[in-house]
Symmetry: C2
Subunit: 438 residues, 2 copies
Amino acid sequence: MVAPLKVGIAGLGTVGAEVVRLIETQARVLAGRSGRGIRVVAVTARSKAKKRGIDLRGVEWVKDPIALATHPGIDCFVELMGGAGDPALSAVEAALNAGKSVVTANKALLAKHGLKLAKAAEKHGGALNFEAAVGAAIPVIKTLREGLAGTGINRVYGILNGTCNYILTRMEQEGLSFAECLKDAQRLGYAEANPSFDVDGHDTAQKLAILASLAFGTKVAQSAVYVEGISSIAPEDLRAADDLGYRLKLLGVAVRTAKGIEQRVHPTMVPKSSSIAQVMGVTNAVTIDGEGIPPITLVGPGAGGAATASAVVADIADVARGIRANPFGRPISHLRDTKKAPMERHEGGYYIRLLARDFPGTAAAIATRLAEQKISIESIVQRHPNGGAAPADGKAVPVPVILITYATHEDAVRRALAAVQRDKVISGRPQVIRIEKN
Amino acid sequence: MVAPLKVGIAGLGTVGAEVVRLIETQARVLAGRSGRGIRVVAVTARSKAKKRGIDLRGVEWVKDPIALATHPGIDCFVELMGGAGDPALSAVEAALNAGKSVVTANKALLAKHGLKLAKAAEKHGGALNFEAAVGAAIPVIKTLREGLAGTGINRVYGILNGTCNYILTRMEQEGLSFAECLKDAQRLGYAEANPSFDVDGHDTAQKLAILASLAFGTKVAQSAVYVEGISSIAPEDLRAADDLGYRLKLLGVAVRTAKGIEQRVHPTMVPKSSSIAQVMGVTNAVTIDGEGIPPITLVGPGAGGAATASAVVADIADVARGIRANPFGRPISHLRDTKKAPMERHEGGYYIRLLARDFPGTAAAIATRLAEQKISIESIVQRHPNGGAAPADGKAVPVPVILITYATHEDAVRRALAAVQRDKVISGRPQVIRIEKN
């Protein structure tokens, strides 16, 4: 019998406590699957006194994450403290440099320092596993790293943030504003008091950078991701999407183009018939387009203590079984530099919503400006407020006009809309949302 | 540098040829992911002369699958011949007994002889990988075997046969009969000339037996699966499902119950809001309910040369990386005997469609018979043909009545309907379809 894998856990919040519990209750199954036992031998956390409902008798309490990471009695360091900086960074580095394997759920750390950490893992021979960092228990890391090992990837995209999808789902289903839904999400604990990290797309960007590296062999870099959040989305955009056969989702998209790998996070119109369009509420989903095969979509909980702990324990079991994958699927020397995609060169269809001051004249002006940029219009919808009745005061009321374009270049759209604004035929700024076809 | 993994492939149909092609075109990525090269060194197939569009120069042609399986020059035997019997069975056994690793896409072989083969793998130390056997490129085997290693599973269910889902989708969307859709499926190549293996549920049963073993640690046994096919489904069942908020799918379901593991394949009503209900056409999907976590659903192509080859190559890459998982996730000594679930003890909701000879009297009779068996009715729908107009000839026309029950026992439903038939208040046999809640 091989000696059991000795695990040290830094961070005993909901996830950490659930990991300790699973390792104990699933001991026999884990040993059967891994070929050896798994034992938590040491832990560290901010408060030793806190009640956690787990049995830590016989487990050594270490004062400091670095001391735990380099503890000679552990084989595998499990980092569940979070945060892109210290103590997580130093502790994970110290563990890898000491030749230990590391399991972490820390997307921020990986998006910022993943390359450096992967180098340390490669140099010293430890594993660096992070299934829980993207999509919690959804096995997307394993699928990209191992399950599609021999298949070229053309595109990976997904709903990677439950808060945003919850807000967009409620806006769509109940016709509410972004602000109202955000407030509810905060009340229900689905959004933080400071919601910017989620609703402005940064959480999605961190996860996307990790997926892009695994799918395309790019050096993981959050800074290479173009990011737009959902705060500008209005209920009328969701209504219009529905009318036109689309749903609106905050997507992270990484795609191979003729100009390189494009990584972007933005509100996106997706066809209602796509798998990703069916994903509602806090649920997450990732679609992978492999070369020559129909899309594969993985759907499930993207957060939550039990779902995250499930992925962490599976990663620990892989360490116990002796699996050493390259952290980002390839040797460091194979990873390529990543550049931020210039969005003005993005190609695709566009949804454009404008407020026309005077419909017939505006339609003509818009058509001219789009034609100048060689943009073809797939559909145009114009609905008079009040069912088209003339306002009581006789004044012209701005009329919402919605355009769907065929695939074009983003810089063409931007130039056309700048010209429309200079023409002074619309009120306010146009709403522009990219379309992603399946 | 470790020596490359030397692969022998038996069977060079669409899948085999694509495996050869992928190993060649993806050589660098595969070597990066596996830490060593992968090389096809020998093959065997029925016809050497057939044009396959692949370069087999430098590859040894072996006359006989057994000779290939035991060839001293190969490390990994890839079985793509198919069939539960010989030559596949003998060849896979011979390879495993010679200590080689085996990759196969052969669900029939695994459902029938999986336990024996897993024993041989365990005894001699080779891997036995079969990701392609269920859901082609959908990584469901890896997810159950590794991704959820530490999470107890309560239920696994899915759409595992594209032919049946294609037929049910078209019946639903176009109001066609089973026979019409089957004919179209045959014409388009989605169904075999002899469709029984697919439409009677046997293909689904083989795949389910494999999933159940991985999820619950049962000894894989197709004979333990209760099976019902889709040939009795009528367009009115699909219409009624739609009215009542359900979709009709052929599901394979393996579920932990108080009485043991239930494995069953049958037409099933699933709530329209479930992920599985969104899966249309030839697409496959599997939902996994883990303890304490929301469902995880994996959706994708369940068949096709490229999708199957993708999974086969990923399995080969795992062999190259030195991964040795227990074939069914646990040591043989941990696997439990499997009994066929007695369906009369199945608990759940039921959809019942009857043809009432005379509605008011029949309703009373049915209500009485159901009440006798303590079955509660969730909803009852009765639609007069011809919008309720009396038939021109004055004769009573049988009226379709649809009932949805709350959860009950199947034997209670069977007893109640037998009594209704004895009462002679209905025409023909009742249609009974189980409901699966998410």
